[in-house]
Amino acid sequence: MQIHRRDFVKLSAATTAAAVASGSALSARPKTESKDDIRWAKSVCRFCGTGCGVQLGVSGRHLVALRGDPEHPTTKGLVCAKALFLPKIIQAPERLRYPRIRSRGKLVRATWDEAMELTAERFASAIREHGPNSVAYYGSGQALSEESYLANRLFKGGIGTNNVEGNPRLCMASAVGGYVSTYGKDEPMGCYDDIEHAKTFFLIGSNTAECHPVIFDQIMARRRVGDRANVIVVDPRRSPVGTISDIYLQPIPGFDLALLHGMAQVIIAERKYDEAFVKKNVQFKAVVDGTPKKVGFDGYREFMQDFTPEKAAKICGVPAQDIVRAARMFVQGPTMSFWTMGLNQRITGVWANNLVHNLHLLTGQIGKPGATPFSLTGQPNACGGVRDTGSLCHILPYGRVVKKAEHREQIEKLWGCKPGTIQAKPGLHTIEMFRALGRDEVQAMLVLTTNPGHSLPNATVHREAMGKPRKNKPFMCVIDAYPTRTTELADVLLPAAVWAEKAGVFGMSERRYQYQPDVIDPPGESRSDFDFLLDFAGRLEGKGVVPAGFISAKFKNADDVWEEMCEASRDTAYDFTGMTRERLKQERGLRWPTPTEDHPGTARRFVKGEDPLLDSGPYANPDLKPGELEFYAAPDKRATVWLRPIKPPAEPPDEDFPFVLSTGRVLEHWHTGTMTRAAPELRRAQPEAYVEIHPDDAQGLGVNNGDMVRIVSRRGEAKMRAKVIPMPRPGMVFVPFHWEDDDSLINRVTLDAYDPGSKQPEFKICAVRLAKA
């Protein structure tokens, strides 16, 4: 049936109107489901870390509709377009259906058994010949928690390598570094409920309107009710968030640390800090000769003399009076800060995170309703799946690190490993892992539910590492549900079940773990990552490179794994031993800590009366009064205000490359776009890449709206249409990174320099030149 768009629109409008008028089913159209035939199941959106509760409409064997879940405690029925089109996305014809093996340069169809046997054999021979560190796992904040936990267990405890990474390294690692260095443990202490209580929102490096639309909608709602909330926005690009700002600050890319210090300096100079809170809960530290040293409040005040508003203004390019206004508004709490990639994807990402925490700690805007620093996450399960399960090269489950013998011993005991199995040295982090692949030092890699061939910065180099034919070329097994710029590089390609096709847990940004059921069957021969991992582990056991029974004797399904995960969290700052599978199936998620089966979950950590860990267990403090706060996971139980110097970006603009390139997202697409482009409406809404250029710069370049433009860096180039618009700061250009053809693949241009602490790359800043194509 071919239908012209005009007919479609007419028919659509007519049937919608008819449905409204009669309140009855849409029966006129063949195969179109009636709403009365639909059975609804609670689930979770599989895109961003907002973690919106959704209801899935299932009819027959199809997922036919999705709607927001009004019973969801935080998102309350709100969703965005990406979720609404998920039924089309998940059932798109593009889906991969069958395993493939590379033969004479081409990916040809194979059976699961052939593909699995080849994969297991290549991993086993690499381990036998070159040792466990010759293999690597690169996972995803889109895998289920049970899947990431199982992969981590297999690689660190079974194979004995810490070469376990995932794409959250590209998006969240600096936020983790910020939380851990400030409070001693990862993850936010506040929650989404705080939006309803906040008086001031501080949005920095976050295009919330497009990247976390439901959070933005909730902030807008808060601006309309009662005591209207204020919004401060900090972003070198005036993104749509700027449309609701009371104060908009546009710093020079990479120099917002001076702005944050400047605000803190005003707060101190005007004595607007919370002296009692600071005295009781905060310590001040600077890194001297590579070692953290306590400096006291006086040392901090002295350090801040270099950041008076006038001095800070000269560094960051924001007028001094605006810095003062922002500081004064910030203290009108309760204040809630949100940030994401604008702070994280920087070589000073951890420091930038620290400085936001500094503002909250100085003003005591923390641990009270509406007062909290909150890092937003871009993926549905970067938090619960990768950060919490310890599925990165330097960490172990639930706040443990590989460097600590005590932590390794605890996990080895739980996993049943021979003592000494888990290496004390962190494995290769993402950029170094792909560099090692390019040097053929990593000999076999498993890429699961992610698209590094598109998403890594300086992509050409890393794409060659993955796919360039050469003698001894490392082996790449890729599991995905859609064709991507990574699947084309695979030696073995396996079709994955996704989202509503498999059951398990997602953990979103506010520590809420949510269960998603499997309500439809995956297409073709697709299998869940979990099934793949069980099969893979069994074969590695059979080949003698993983102890017999290490995985196969313990787990038959994801429920078994969940039980062990709960146990792994016992007596840690994450304790969710009371979060049984049954509870998760019934409830709209639970926020940890949840140490007992009757505990309702924790809205605010570290607060007596809210956080159950202050009542019993290793962190308990019976002397605290309700509402009092204690940073129990931090050294001396005090959070740290860090004195951080200003450091320029790794590649500032210069004569040859005079513009700063920044990348980001649009509302209708998600990350590398392989899913959202599968919905015709989303694809057509944003069909192609473009580069935003400030009108002043466009004039200088002789570029008009719609002209094709080349964007060239020291690493590569891209070509796309110009969008002449006063959104980026003059001297800066912005490109959304969703499109994958060679011309649009902007990561061929970006830089893979990384933060020395978090190892997160500086996607947000590199130097480019522009020319009309």
């Binding site: 049936m1 071919q2 239908i3 012209h4 768009r5 479609f8 629109v9 007419k10 659509s12 409008a13 919608t16 109107a17 449905a19 409204v20 849409l26 195969k31 179109t32 489901e33 709403k35 009365d36 639909i38 059975r39 609804w40 199941a41 209801q55 409409g57 299932v58 009819s59 064997r61 199809h62 036919v64 509709a65 999705l66 709607r67 927001g68 009004p70 019973e71 029925g77 709100l78 969703v79 377009a81 609404l84 089109f85 039924p87 089309k88 059932q91 309107a209 639309p213 909608d217 807008m220 709602a221 449309t243 609701i244 059921p517 309500v519 409406e681 057509r684 809404a685 944003q686 069909p687």
Partner: protein, 118 residues
């Protein structure tokens, strides 16, 4: 078929966004036609009422990031804009910006800009 976890009464179906977002107007096409494009997939396996109407692609729609931007026209019907009521939609959903759910279709224009007989 995998087991379904049933929730809530079907009465909650009034929440279906596309249904709630229906326009009070002539029922005529709101947009100029695009070049031929197959839309078969949109008809076959999906509940058509589940997908919110798309938006025409012009500056006023593209740059509408707050609800007020949209309601300036769509509450009053000025410039021949279809009046939206979002009947039956819970109030929380009415706090959302329109572009959270309604996506643009590039090349389409508001119906007020379609010439007579066009």
């Amino acid at each position: 078929m995998k087991p379904i976890y049933l929730i809530g009464p079907t009465a909650a179906a009034i929440l279906i966004l596309g249904l709630a977002c229906q326009t009070h107007g002539s029922g005529e096409a709101e947009m100029a036609p695009l070049e031929s494009d197959t839309v078969e997939a949109a008809f076959t396996d999906f509940a058509a009422f589940a997908f919110p109407p798309t938006l025409p692609d012009d500056d006023s729609h593209r740059d509408s990031w707050t609800r007020t931007d949209c309601l300036n026209c769509h509450e009053t019907g000025i410039q021949d804009a279809p009046v939206v009521t979002h009947e039956g939609m819970p109030s929380v959903l009415l706090t959302a910006k329109c572009r959270s759910c309604h996506v643009l279709i590039p090349g389409s224009v508001p119906r007020s800009m379609i010439p007579e007989g066009g």
